[in-house]
Each structure stands twice: as C-alpha cells, then as structure tokens.
C-alpha cells in the first residue's frame, strides 16, 4: 500500500519546539498581536493567559495557520512554517467551539485527520484515541447526540490521534461546568505526559493556566507582559497588570525614600513600605509596591513586631465569608482600600463590618513592579477591540441624541 513507501508520514515521535519571532498581526483598525517573540520548548505545557481581546486566540490561530502574520516568522521544530497553509502544518487544534463535523459519526470525526494522511490502520488508531477519552462506546453516534463534556473529549481525541508535534488548545474547557472542567484539566495533563506532545493552551482562566501549565505567559494588548513558571509569576509579578490579573494584589505607589544594601522603602502618606531590592524591578524614582491579600494579617491591636510593615488603624468595610477563608476590605486613611484574605483557622481574629483594625505583613513578601497601575480598574485591561470600540461609540452617540 501507499504507506509502505511513506512510513507513517507526519507522525511526530515527540513534541517539537515552537518559536515565534517578532510576530505581528494587524487587522484594519487595531493590532491584535504586537511584535511577539516566544520560545516554547518541546514537550512542555505552555499556557497563554489573558483577558478577552488580548490577542491570545489570534496568536494561536497564527500558529495553526488559520491567519497569516502581518510580520515576523513562525518556526515549528526549527522549520519555518510562516507561509505554510494550515493543512501542511504538523499542528492540531482543539477548538473552543469543538467544531466537530455534524454530518459525521464520532468515529469518522476522529479518523478524519488520519484518513487525510492516508494512515493505514486509521480505524484502530481512532478507536484507541476514543478509548483514551473513554468514549469508545459512543463511536457510532453523531456529535449532536453527545453532551458538551463528551464533545470536548471527542475534539481532544480528534486532535491527539494525529500525534501532532504541537497541540493547540483554544479555551477548550470554557463551556464546561466547574466540576467537569477540573476533571478534564486532570485528564488533559495526564494525556500530555502520556503522549509527550507540546501543548499550547490559550485561556482566560488564571487558575486553569496555573494548575496545568509548566510555563505561563500573561498577555495583554497584543504583548506578553510576563512569562515564567506559575509560582514565579504569582510571587513576583513584574507589572501591575500581571499583579492584578493573576490573583489579586494590594498596590501602593510612592517615591523611594531611604534604601539599604538589600532593601528600599517607599513612602506613601507618611508610612514607609519596605521591599527587598531583589524583589523589585525598579530601584529609584516612583515605584509601585504590591502585596498579595493572603500575605496580609489582620490585628485588633497595633502589632508590636517592628520588622513588619503595619498600616492602620483602618475600618473594615466588608467581610465576606467563603468557607476556608474570609475576605476583608479594610479602608486605611491615606491609602486605597486594602484587601485581606484571612484563613479561618481557630486562632485567627475575626472582625466584623465597622471594626477598627490594623493590617500588617512581612516586607519579604512585598514585590516592586516595573510600572504603575492604570486608572482604578487595574483588574481589567482597557477593551480596545474594534467591536467594543464601535459599541462604545454608538452608545455615546445614542446618549448624545437622547440628551438633545
């Protein structure tokens, strides 16, 4: 047969490196991906994390060959594929919408890629892939007869069965409920280690990115803000966007006052906030310092420990109980409101709305950012997608019309 001369054409033995070199993608009116360079080593689980409209899906589509970059080049396993069409790339995608062919059975869907490459034992391989996602018993059904979670697993099997050098996942778990999502996250991770592929996972769910990926890149407005291991990103965020998008942060901006050989102190409203130099990206001028809410402790009385940074007295604005912890919002005069996550252990103080409290933390947990928060809503990036700009413009015009 054909395969005798072409030994399992296109089957990758292992994952391949992916490199993006100065890739840009401009659409009329806005830039989706802005001079992006990225290096994903073979066999790793890489997550692109960002809010909607940050360019992460466009990046994925560029890698899949569904969009052409305006500038830059894309290399898979060292081979330049910038000009290759999607069907020529050793890449498979699990689409956000799954995109299972509605007129084919589950089996035909899974075998589709194998048949296109004229692989001998397509049926056996497809069945094995369905076994992997535990759906072999539904092989003869049509996609519309399956639940969302099952369809998602079929989409995964349809991509994985081809043993691509690189597997792209476009928010494939977005449509699932929390419990199913957790289960699928575990399964995905298991499949990844089992088959040893390179995974590029695009998501806006920071928890998903952190639990699954070896390396996370936080993307905002077409650029990568910071890239690294999840722990590193969380403990030492580089920018205000990362500090607020990946978990929550209390941010304080002030001028650098006195500094020692290994720490510096910024003064914000008369109180000094100390941060180790090794944990700060900027060492002079105006600096924004952050602290994670779970690193902040709540006290009834001013703590005596001189090594801790203490703010207060402040007033509890809001206390919301969420089982393992309680989230407090404390108004401290001269500062923004401080968020505190307090574990509900037996010894911790509990406070109620209106109580007068002090907050404190160890300076070792503080971090210095390289930029400053923009506006009040640092948690969300400005939505500069053309669609939303048009909507905003229309709303503005309608409001004007109503006024007149």
């Amino acid at each position: 047969m054909l395969e005798a001369s072409a030994p399992v054409r296109g089957f990758a033995d292992a994952g391949a490196d992916l490199s993006l070199v100065n890739v840009s993608k401009r659409f009329p009116g806005f830039t989706a991906v802005d001079d992006l360079s990225l290096e994903i080593p073979a066999g790793s689980f890489f997550a692109l994390l960002g809010p909607s409209g940050c360019g992460k899906t466009t990046t994925l589509r560029l890698v899949a060959g569904l969009e052409e970059p305006t500038a830059g080049s894309i290399l898979i396993g060292g081979k330049d594929v910038t000009l290759a069409k999607s069907h020529q790339r050793p890449v498979n995608t699990v689409f956000q919408s799954y995109a299972l062919f509605p007129h084919m059975s589950i089996m035909e869907n899974v075998a589709f890629g194998l048949r296109r490459r004229r692989i001998d034992n397509a049926d056996t391989l497809a069945r094995e892939a369905l076994d992997l996602v535990e759906l072999a018993h539904l092989a003869h059904r049509k996609p519309s007869q399956l639940s969302g979670g099952q369809q998602q697993r079929v989409a995964l099997a349809r991509a994985v069965v081809n043993r691509p050098a690189l597997l792209l996942l476009d928010e494939p778990l977005g449509a699932l409920d929390l419990k199913l999502r957790r289960q699928m996250q575990l399964e995905l991770k298991e499949i990844q280690s089992e088959v040893g592929l390179t995974f590029l996972h695009v998501t806006h769910d920071q928890e998903e990115a952190m639990t699954m990926a070896d390396t996370v890149a936080v993307m905002n407005q077409g650029r990568i803000e910071q890239m690294g291991a999840p722990v590193e990103l969380y403990e030492l965020p580089k920018t205000a966007f990362v500090a607020t998008f990946l978990g929550q942060s209390n941010l304080f901006t002030g001028k650098v006052g006195n500094s020692t050989s290994d720490t510096m102190t910024i003064s914000a409203a008369g109180v000094g906030i100390t941060v180790p130099l090794s944990r700060a990206h900027v060492h002079r001028g105006t600096v924004t310092v952050g602290i994670r809410p779970e690193k902040v402790a709540l006290h009834r009385h001013k703590p005596a420990d001189g090594n801790r940074t203490v703010l207060g007295p402040g007033r509890v604005l809001d206390a919301s109980f969420s089982g393992v912890s309680t989230q407090y919002l404390v108004a401290v005069p001269g500062y923004a409101d401080v968020t505190v996550f307090s574990q509900n252990t037996s010894e911790s103080d509990s406070a109620r709305n209106g109580d007068e409290v002090y907050v404190s933390w160890s300076p070792d947990h503080a971090f210095g950012l390289s930029d400053h928060p923009v506006g009040d809503s640092g948690k969300f990036a400005a939505d500069t997608d053309t669609g939303s700009l048009a909507v905003a413009e229309r709303e503005r015009l309608e409001a004007e019309l109503e006024e007149s």
Partner: protein, 309 residues
Amino acid sequence: MAFGAFQSNASTAAQPSGALVTQRKSPIALLLLLPGVLYLILFFLTPLLSLVLTSFQAPVPGGFAGDYETAFQWQNYTVVLETYWPHISRSFVYALLATVFALMIGYPIAYVIGVKLREYPLWQALALVLVIAPFFISFLLRTIAWKQIFADEGILMSALKGLQVIPPDAYFTGTPAAVIFGLTYNFIPFMTLPIYTSLEKLDLRYLEAGGDLYAHPATVFWKITIPLSLPGILSGTLLTFIPAAGDYINASRDFLGSTDTQMIGNVIEANFLILQNFPAAAALSLLLMAAILVLVTAYVKRSGTDELL
C-alpha cells in the same frame, strides 16, 4: 401554540400530562388548519380527481371531436405511452441536463454570495437582488428575448458567422441545446436561492477544522462544504427538475424549440388545446406526475438528508 401549551400547563398544574394531550386535539388548532385544508381540497384534490376521471374517458360514438363520455378506458395510458414515449424520455433527459448545468452555475454563485460576501453585507444584498432581478421581467418575455438573441439573423449568430467561427448555415434556435439552455437559464435562481440559504448558515469553523486536520481545501469542499449544504442542493435540484420536466415554454416552437424538441408539456398542451384529446392529455399529465413522484422519492431517499443535523 407554545404559549398556549405553557398557559394550560400553568393553569392545570395538577395534571400537566393531560393538559398537553388535550392541547393537541384543541379545536382551535383544527380551525386554524381549515383554510389550508379547504384550499387543498378545492385546488388540488378536485382537479386531480377530475384529471383521473378524464384520463379514463372514451370518445362518444358518432360524436364530434372533443366529445367524451365517462368510461374506464385504461388503454388510454398504453396508447399515450406508445405514442409519446420519445417525448417523455426527452423531457427527463432535458430536465436532468438543465438541472446539472443549473447546479454547476448556481452553486458557485450561491457560494460566493453566501460565504465569500459574508463580510460585505451590502454587496451580498446587491448580489442577491441580481439573482432575483430576472423575475421582474416575465418568464415569456425573457425567453422571447433569448430567441431574438439566438435568431439565425440575430446579432450573435451573424457576428459568429462573420468571424467564421461557425459555418454560414449554422443555427441554434430549435436545437435541443437551445431548449436546454433556456431551461437552465430560467431555473438558475430556483437552484441558487435554496443553496444560498444552506451556505449562508454554514459555520466556517468546520472548514477551518478540516484544514487543521490536514485536509486540502478541495477535500474540505467535498467532505465538509458539500455535505453540509446538501439540504440546499436537494431543494434546489427538486425546484429545478420538477418544473423543468413539465415545462412547455422553452421547448415550444414559438420559443427556443422546434418540432424535434417537443417535451411532454408541449404534447399535453397540444392534446388539450389543439387536438382536443382530453383523455390522452390527462393520462399524460398523470403519468408525468407519477414518474416525477417516483424519481423524486428515490432521489430524496438516496441523498439521505434526513440524517443531517
């Protein structure tokens, strides 16, 4: 209906299943069906019945031409089958060819309008208007216009003869090709619009997924686009084939045809209006209906569109 079902469910919460059953048999539903049923009885069943009766009539002995009496002369059918067998087969061959050509022309048009022009709603609307535009002029006038264009001394033929592309004694009107051309031309909108409706709903993400799964664009077209637009292709081909098989304008001597291109429609027309052989005309009409019914049923079964979505 949906609102009604909801209401009765709410009011008779004690027996919701009973409420649904009575809803089905509600007199209002039957009342709403009445105009449609009456229409069908009046304008479909009555003529059909009259046609069936006529087809078995026998000539009045010693009567004038056109005088017939009720009888059970089933031989009418075998006679017309023997006499007009060439016309019947010609009709289906012409209709089939016209359907194939209309599909070959209509599908690309529908694809461009339904898929390629999606991002340009204005152009899409304009292109749709252009597809429908021929309907603003009468079917007869358009066919006559083509007769003028293709006339032996007409602008097209004389130009081609002048350029010596075709011999000086060549002609086009009156040939089977002219009839098939006319049929194709007249039914292109009926082919294009249903296919457009199917393609307009086509989710392009399926095509992307096909490309992602190593399918060449041509394979994506055959394996994904065509099967997903099959309902449109099915209704388009039916809307073309059925009326084309019974058409009596294009093949008529007064339009694009000649005595050699007569289709079953022309024969029925001649028998009804000129020869006044009403039983033969009725028998032919019923045979045409039956043949189309059989062909269409086989075609719909074969295409298996009921499995789609």
